[in-house]
């Protein structure tokens, strides 16, 4: 039930903060924080934040793409990949980047439940598979 609770809390906060600005928003956040503190739920904040982000993205029709590459990519390259995802999904894209040396080279992009694996590691694995057949 813990996971569900995170979702419910995030949804509640999102709904309460809808269309509120400045002072009003501060009050909502303060109330929410007090509620969390009273019910010993402060440890759930990171989970609630990621849920909140997801809610925001779905509401605005934005796709969150995770881009993992072997080394830091230039802005132009990231832009290219974002465009690729944009053409695939026909939605606005927000890219988060990360690095992983195990990929050897290239990059992996994840969005929704799709994955495009353009890494050297994946291609080497494929080659190994073909040669052993």
């Amino acid at each position: 039930m813990k996971k569900n609770q995170v979702k419910i809390l995030a949804a509640a906060l999102y709904e309460a903060s809808q269309g509120k600005k400045g002072k009003e928003l501060d009050i909502v956040i303060a109330n929410f924080s007090n509620y969390l503190a009273e019910h010993h739920l402060v440890s759930m904040i990171p989970g609630i934040l990621t849920e909140l982000e997801k809610l925001h993205f779905t509401a605005e029709g934005i796709v969150a793409a995770e881009l993992t590459s072997s080394e830091e990519l230039a802005q132009a390259e990231i832009k290219k990949i974002a465009d690729l995802v944009k053409t695939n999904t026909k939605q606005e894209v927000v890219v988060k980047t990360d690095t992983d040396e195990d990929l050897v080279g290239g990059a992996v992009v994840k969005y929704n439940d799709k994955i495009i694996d353009m890494s050297i590691r994946h291609q080497l694995n494929n080659l190994a598979k073909q040669l052993s057949n």
């Binding site: 994840k110 439940d113 994955i115 495009i116 694996d117 080659l127």
Partner: protein, 516 residues
Amino acid sequence: MSYDHLVKSLQKQLEDWQSDVKEETVGEVIEVGDGIAKVSGLSDVMASEMLEFETKAGDKVYGVVLNLEEYSVGATILGEYAALKEGDKVKRTKRILEVPVGEAVVGRVVNPLGQAIDGKGEIKSKDHYPVEKIAPGVITRQSVFQPLETGIKVIDAIIPIGKGQRELIIGDRQTGKTALAIDAIINQAGKDVICIYVAIGQKESKVARIVAKLEETGAMDYTTVVSAGASESAALSYIAPYAGCSMGEYFMDKGKDVLVIYDDLSKHAVAYRQISLLLKRPPGREAYPGDVFYVHSRLLERAAKMNDELGGGSLTALPIIETQAGDISAYIPTNVISITDGQIFLETDLFYKGVRPALSTGLSVSRVGSAAQKKAMKKVAGKLKMDLAQYREMEAFAQFGSDLDDATKQLLDRGARITEILKQGQFSPLLQSKQVSIIYAAANGHLDKVPVANLAAFEQKLFTKMEAEGKDVLDSIEKSGELSDGDEQKLKTIIDDLVELEEKVEGAEDKKEDKK
């Protein structure tokens, strides 16, 4: 092979190779245990699609989608699930679960995924059939009319099985259910029937013993054994009968005759119950899920006799059900009895009385009936059924012994002899012609003068004599399936001669004992 050649072929391989980057659908394991995994993502996955699980170590395990829920997908894992962890990647394969079919699987022992487990090398087959197939429809079938000879006297005479029929073998443990099925397989030698034995949740030792026996009798040449052992996951037990059926369907579509044995469906139901409960489907009667009837009916509906335009192939199904203490009114037995076209009921009491096969002639039926019998057998067995039915009715009186009228006494004598004649050893299936001759003798009262204790020996003597003197009669029955008047006369003479001889020997022995 030279070094140069090696380098060149490698080069060629590398030139041909093209890296393909494509969009794949992946999910993540949320929860795993007891052969079941809950997977997030995979929003466009199909029901009963194969999934590819990838463990952290890079090993691949396959699974099948069973539940499509709002936020997750429930799947069974086919194989080792111990290495799977939360967060492992799951890929769609966009394929329904399928097994290799064709000549390559004949004579092999395979698991329900069609992988060899007999150590005779990989199974290379071009053709694959989906495990779950819709049963042939009404217009593609024709009614059952050919006999599937089991070589067991009591079955071929009283409850004949037709090609394309579904006949249930039901009984307690240790009543000879499997033995009956194995005898039926052994008897298909030279009859151009492909046999498939599906062992569901059986002990590996039992399967090994059966395979050894089939090999010894040469039956393995036309048999495939599909084995989901007791130690393997319930998911494999669950798909085993469907996989075996698909392997049989291939040959049916090719116009051949197939015999499939499901040993046994009670364990299959138990495996399905386990999967269903783990997937949190609501339990019903005896904790089986609501669709356990459909699980068996859609499997057994796939048994069919195809019409001649479609090749006229057939798939005969012999499902086995194990009852607890003879209780055929439990959930699974009643279900399967109502699905099948008749049942062979084996009883513990009969088994220990020495009546083997321990077939209860009162409770066993074949709804296809004599449509699936050779004319010769029909001719001699008709009387047999009547006599046996009357014998069962009168049997209770026999307990009181003495003051019975002659007619009743004769009836009881006849019944006792028929029962004795219908006994048969394991692994000794008989040709139809021999069955016809001994049943002819019993049903027409020719054996009334032979003591019951001598009948087994008499049967052997009759077969030897028939082979020596009446070979043409046996051959003509085998060939035409009919017992002509001339042949009947000849058969009668041979039997009478033997009975006469038997009487003389009896008489001489009696005299000897008198002198002493």
